[in-house]
């Protein structure tokens, strides 16, 4: 029996030793370094503010629509011959027909006002709707320089600019650096920027331009920026990043499709915006950034948004900077992510528009971005500080592009919900949950992109 016992003990000892010595834990090492973006050189040049440091606002003075145009949609039962005959019978002249949406941009005869013509058209049972060709306006301004000043992407409480400039608050950012661990975007995802065009030769942008785009104001295929706003907005969404100069974009590798909808005065008309949205959808854009808006609702504009939605394209739009109601198209809640503005301390920008349509917020105060190389002249770096929801919007559009990059199967509605639900409720003390000032909160790329750790203790 003794012999049995000792053999048994020996066996157990050998067994334990052999098993414990083999334990190996293999962990997937996929950590990506993202600090390269901080190596961007910063020349100590003074970077001016665009628009005198003020956000672009809707001009309360002057007409809110084109004085001699209407946008008309006829019922689909009406044949094209009958449409032509109807247009002629009212003395209208066709300027343009927006394909797919079947919206007619019509010239009103001189002897009638737009309002009179609309009232006549609305009495016609063959007309689905008739409305003015409203003016849209740029909701934010461009500006900029370097990553260390991009508090929106990473806020460590740094000074945002030269010494004496405002100081940020730690973590009052969109958690971009954390989100980039998961993805920096793919070149197949295209962000259409419906704005004033883009400076195609800007060193911090040119490699990320998908095509020369389209100019709807001048009706040609060259969307070169003659204002500055579009270049600024585009750079925030998808500046060339990790290239040792300038700024970082939210979606490093995604491409920008510039669509120019402003004329030399910076005015944009709904018809151009509508056409641009349609063009973006038909030219493979997956995300559309609209950092502009108008005060008036428009069936035609809503139709364009619906068209984008039906074709799996997400529209992200600026709420506006008038401390008033949310502008259109952002106010079309069903089809559009409406973006409000926060500042470098995670507070709401006082001028940010508000209302139940607000979905989320993103930094829009003292945001640095690219401006066209001609903007300041040769002596100054082509960057500037911008203010407004126009600056907030491309942060969210870039975020949507990153989500689309890693989850291309998601619908616009699903991406919209991810953006909403992953936000940080930064004003929860005063307004817990969704509110009309910041919506669900300031966006958070980390939560939207990086796998969230779920543990049993969270039950």
């Amino acid at each position: 029996m003794k012999k049995r016992k000792s053999v048994f003990i020996f066996l157990i000892a050998v067994f334990c030793l052999s098993t414990t010595s083999f334990q190996q834990v293999h962990r997937d090492q996929k950590q990506r370094k993202i600090n390269d973006s901080r190596n961007i050189h910063m020349r100590q040049a003074k970077i001016p503010c665009l628009n005198d440091g003020l956000p672009y606002r809707a001009d309360p003075k002057g007409s809110s629509y084109v004085s001699d145009q209407v946008l008309v949609k006829f019922k689909s039962t009406l044949s094209s011959k009958m449409v032509k005959a109807t247009i002629a019978s009212y003395g209208l002249e066709q300027i343009k027909r927006i394909p797919q949406l079947n919206i007619f941009q019509l010239q009103v005869p001189e002897n009638l006002s737009v309002k009179e013509m609309i009232s006549y058209l609305e009495q016609n049972p063959d007309v689905q709707y008739a409305e003015p060709n409203y003016k849209a306006h740029l909701a934010v301004t461009p500006n900029d320089t370097l990553f260390k000043y991009q508090y929106a992407l990473q806020n460590s409480g740094q000074e945002i600019g030269v010494p004496g400039a405002p100081q940020g608050k730690s973590n009052a950012d969109i958690k971009a650096t954390q989100g980039w661990k998961e993805t920096k975007g793919v070149k197949e995802v295209i962000i259409a920027v419906v704005d004033s065009g883009v400076d195609m030769e800007h060193p911090d942008l040119k490699d990320n331009i998908y095509s020369s785009g389209k100019d709807f104001a001048n009706d040609d295929l060259d969307a070169t920026d003659d204002n500055g706003h579009g270049t600024f907005v585009s750079s925030l969404a998808a500046a060339v990043t990790n290239n040792s100069e300038g700024i970082a974009g939210v979606a490093w590798n995604c491409k920008v499709l510039p669509l120019k909808v402003t004329d030399e005065k910076g005015e944009a008309f709904y018809s151009w915006v509508i056409e641009a949205i349609r063009y973006a959808v038909d030219n493979e854009a997956q995300v559309i950034n609209v950092s502009l808006g108008g005060n008036m609702p428009s069936h035609a504009l809503e139709d364009a948004l619906s068209y984008a939605d039906r074709n799996d394209v997400l529209v992200v739009a600026a709420a506006g900077n008038d401390s008033g109601p949310v502008l259109y198209p952002a106010a079309y809640d069903k089809y559009c992510v409406a973006v409000a503005a926060t500042d470098y301390k995670d507070s709401r920008a006082e001028w940010s528009n508000y209302g139940p349509e607000i979905d989320v917020a993103a930094p829009g105060v003292r945001v640095i971005g690219c401006v066209p190389t001609w903007y300041w002249g040769e002596e100054t770096l082509p960057y500037g500080w911008g203010f407004g929801t126009s600056a907030s919007t491309p942060h969210v559009a870039g975020m949507a592009a990153l989500i689309k990059s890693i989850k291309p199967w998601l619908t616009p509605s699903e991406i919209m919900k991810i953006i909403r639900y992953s936000s940080d409720d930064i004003n929860q003390i005063d307004y817990p949950g969704k509110d009309e000032y910041l919506g669900y909160g300031r966006v958070n790329l980390e939560k939207a992109l990086v796998p969230i750790l779920i543990s049993s203790s969270e039950e």
Binding site: K3, F15, L453, S455
Partner: protein, 256 residues
Amino acid sequence: MKKYLCAFVLILSFTCFSYAQFGYDFSYKDMKIKPGIGLEYFTRTISWDDQTHSSTLRSYFLTLNTKIEFQWGFSITPVLGYSLSNFDGLVFRKLPISLELDVGDIKGLIFGGEVKQNFITIEEIQFGARGEFLYSYGLKEDWTIPGLIVEGTVEGRPSWKRILVGPILKYRGFDYFSPYVFVGYDQLWGTFSMKETIQDLEGSEDKKIKGKGFVSASVGAVYELTDKFHIQAESRLTPYEQGADFGILLKLNYTF
């Protein structure tokens, strides 16, 4: 899946063939029934997402088994038990909001069995084949998704299967214990199903997992405590390209 079942069926067929070959007349006297309990633990490095990522599956289970042993050297052991499987580190990137598991052990039931056939004995060395199949059916569990502005939950259910087939060499020269070496084709595969619900945002993902390595080597021994009780201990090593996984097994059986 098919090939593993084929291998299992092959062993069974071979057993039946050998039984027919030697032409035993079956009698209950030729049969021994050995009920018992077993405890097993293993770690296995698993790969997923087209083998681009990996993590570790840790599982331990308590089983009730009944070994039915026949005189002609064949035994079959159905197994039923309770398992705890830990899939921490598994990442679900196809859900609308991506998630990484850190939930610890997930309860489950385990079914399966083992067949063994001795082919030939040369002096004290016995040569045979052994096959084993286990299926762990995880119970559904819910977890809360932290950090979202709205309430979000995720419901998960894992399952895995393991097959082990190969030759076994046993030394019977000692009085009370018989050491053995077993080298086998060893495959583990399974699915972890997750369903995410965040208000009106829903998504699901069935993640396929596959154990790294395909051969394992085991050393063990059967020790006769008394005439009726015997205990089996075994340790297993499953090497793969960058490392090795291990497992241990302990069984106590009583002979009627």
